[in-house]
Symmetry: C2
Subunit: 331 residues, 2 copies
């Protein structure tokens, strides 16, 4: 394992310090609790949006903090849920009298911590709602999950509820929007290589020279099957077809499409996949209104990609278009 | 080699098709000449900005096309200069009576083609100026270069001349701004792994299990030395010190800093590097006004990163802040 790091046990803290240093006007790092917080939090008159998860999925979620996005991200160590007291501190730092919405990808460890954190918050007099994200169609139950896993579709939930909160909507409305986005999005990922947690120093699983994991999870969880790498056009067709059949997405529907890199995939390949995915959707009579290509929810240094398709309506579409500020921009 | 692709000989064309498909309102793909063109080009009353280079450096340069950036990108095959007739066609498609500025990273093959293309343009009655970018401090001459190589500092030149052209400045002024940005920027890269061109199918060079290439080029060219991987904090200190001493950047200067991923490096590690780079610059009495962290100029699937530091003045700073549209945004 060759990585840009120092002592692996300081990896997450040093990454967060860098995120805050690169965004001095908009973000703050709270090293005692591993938090990245909006510099202007708590934002009065606004529902606060909080996401916690294991680290290793960057830019999710520490680089999704900012106006129109999250108020705070509360990462745990690599691929580990954050401790309860860290989550409770995150909530206290951003809570307003409009309440807080806790976004949780559907992993058993994360659910457990956030359900307890909700109780602590309520005991503190803070109104807190939970929203679970489970967009991965690959498998029903998984290594760390009962039900479906939450993966890159998470980004759309953050963007929509972040914009809704910014516009002054009530907690119940914001949560309902998030639930609708989650219900409308489906994702599926493929790994070309395993990933290596810094503290472990060895790959989480083994893939042969020509093998891929179809339906991989963002912690390296097994997918539907291990198989030989195929041409990108064939691979993406099965991914899109699986997603379309699962929801199902009907002819005439309008969607947002995301090709998400899993950490070590060149952006050129992501765009190549995008082109093929778009062809498949157009053939299925589905209209692409919005496109996202890049790294949104990664698995450390895994080479691989996922496809997400989100059914749009006018409200969700407007929320995705709303201005937002996250970590340093591309241009 | 496991990659998301089909026949390697179609790789570049299929990537470009994906770029255009993901940006239907702003970009056009011209497959006969491998071009990505602004949908509204030629933009009358504006100096046109053109960049050509080998492919494999994405987002440079095909994802840097748009308002306030490039009018057209003319990529060659992977790590190969574009053919002359492709460059000439690119120029014809975007040229206006305000003239065109040709941005060329300093590699012998690219220089040769663009110098010929300038002559062809002038014969066509188009006023064309050349601007060579050579920000890499690692080595003086290199495998494909006489003088210094052009690497990620290229982004700052594109952004500044793109904004200057958009604001209506004359060709001579736009070129002078680009030359000042190039003179003000220094970069240095490190490879943790080699990269594998799709058509070759094998790594361009070999690095041992614990080895890095200090000063690597974006085509895998050798740097200053091969050595053992060190903790990130030590490594980045030498990179920043080398850059600061080269220009030199003086105490009290204001800079933009970029940590650029070379293709397969997780963004978490780039932010970790950013944090350390910022510490070193602050210690040197240098003020960081702007921060860029992400993939700006890559080397296919190389794991590695480069640091760029750009001295700012009020004009360059305003040009970097000017609105711009490139390929699909992160939020």
């Amino acid at each position: 394992m060759k990585r840009f790091m120092n002592d692996p046990k300081n990896f997450v803290t040093e990454v967060l310090a860098g995120v805050a240093a690169a965004n001095p006007n908009t973000l703050r790092h709270v090293p005692e609790y591993n938090l990245i917080v909006r510099a202007d939090a708590p934002v009065s008159g606004k529902v606060a949006i909080i996401q916690g998860s294991g680290s290793g999925h960057e830019p999710a979620h520490v680089m999704n903090v900012g106006r129109g996005m999250l108020d705070v991200a509360c990462p745990g160590d690599v691929f580990a849920a954050p401790p309860l007291d860290y989550v409770s501190e995150a909530i206290r730092r951003v809570a307003t009298d409009r309440g807080v919405l806790l976004l949780v990808n559907n992993y058993t460890g994360d659910r457990m911590v956030f359900e307890m954190a909700q109780e602590v918050a309520e005991a503190d007099g803070i109104t807190a709602e939970l929203l679970f994200i489970d967009d991965d169609v690959a498998v029903e139950n998984s290594t760390f999950t009962i039900g479906r896993r939450g993966v890159a579709g998470n980004f759309f939930v953050i963007k929509a509820v972040g914009a809704a909160a910014e516009s002054g909507k009530e907690l119940a409305e914001v949560k309902a929007i998030g639930e609708r986005v989650n219900a409308n999005v489906r994702s599926l990922g493929v790994a070309l290589t395993a990933c290596t947690p810094p503290a472990k120093g060895a790959p989480l699983f083994e893939l042969g020279a020509g093998e891929i994991e179809f339906g991989v999870g963002i912690h390296g969880e097994p997918g539907r099957r291990r198989e030989a790498l195929r041409p990108a056009r064939e691979l993406i067709r099965e991914m899109v077809d699986t997603i379309v059949a699962d929801k199902p997405f009907e002819r005439g529907s309008r969607v947002a499409v995301m090709i998400n890199g899993l950490g070590a995939t060149p952006i050129s390949e992501l765009y190549l996949l995008y082109g093929h995915a778009a062809e498949c959707l157009v053939e299925a009579g589905i209209t692409i209104d919005k496109s996202y290509v890049g790294n949104y929810c990664t698995a450390l240094d895994m080479a691989g990609a996922s496809v997400s398709v989100l059914e749009l309506d006018d409200e969700i579409s407007a929320l995705l278009d709303a201005p937002a500020v996250a970590a340093v921009p591309a241009v």
